[in-house]
Symmetry: C2
Subunit: 150 residues, 2 copies
Amino acid sequence: MKLSTRSRYGLKAVIDLAVRYGTGPVSLPTLAGEQGVSEGYLEQLLRELKKGGVVDTVRGAQGGYELTCDPGDLSVQRVLTLLEGSTAVVDCVGSEEQGCNNACTCSARPLFLKLQNRINEVLEKTTIQELADDYISQIKQGCCVKNVCK
Amino acid sequence: MKLSTRSRYGLKAVIDLAVRYGTGPVSLPTLAGEQGVSEGYLEQLLRELKKGGVVDTVRGAQGGYELTCDPGDLSVQRVLTLLEGSTAVVDCVGSEEQGCNNACTCSARPLFLKLQNRINEVLEKTTIQELADDYISQIKQGCCVKNVCK
DNA sequence: CATAAGTCAACCAATTTACTAGGGTATGGT
DNA sequence: ACCATACCCTAGTAAATTGGTTGACTTATG
């Protein structure tokens, strides 16, 4: 049931980009430095996000990454799906409906469906903007310093 | 975010035991046969469930496994926690609160907390009895035959 | 005492995860 | 022109996890 570090690092990078939305591209060294992740690893995650159209890049000096859309229009679901491949707890209740031909007699299926629904509700309704706002207000209260968290 | 086969096989075995609750022990070959899992593998899962006090065993001929309590008093949460180790999506929001000392400035933490709450709601409120009842009524409608599902 | 059945430890192969390394390409400033 | 900055891409790899299998042992029933 665990979320991979891919998802955690990637999501936090997106939130970072949201905080800086509209102020020009943010470089990989900046993003990686803030989270204590290696540049090489984070770059791979950002590339997935680029493929998925969530971030855009500017090459060359003074380049970097930026969100392609308003963070208020970006759901956590979309970000995690790109990073994780899928947010399904079991394949047979995912959006791709990978064929389990025993669906109707799988004794655990009703549970899986209910669980997946609740999860999707949260992931779809929560926007990156909300998380960025929460984060900013935490920072303003100045309780700690860094966003580093394994 | 995926549930392991451990959890799926183990949970389904427990539901199987719930369906037969009160009718004496069910043998490993019976349980394994019904789900198309190897006996060796399922045995490991059942052993965890025994350690956790969810099932009890009777050794020797005509022995087998049985639930230690009424399926109506057994939550899915309890079963999955034994099989999966923990149902936390990230360690820092699990019940053991494994120390992330940056909790207050982790930009993704509010999301993780909300997500975990919704998941726990479902897992704690759903009883094995409910799943067993659903399953029995599905079977009575006779749509397919087996409970085998990878 | 033979047979059915749970107990337990050890091992194994494949896959996934979480990275690292290193070479390539584009852009801006001097 | 040149160089520093920064994204682009592929490949490799160590460790952990997953999903098992094997086999020796113990305990009860008939």
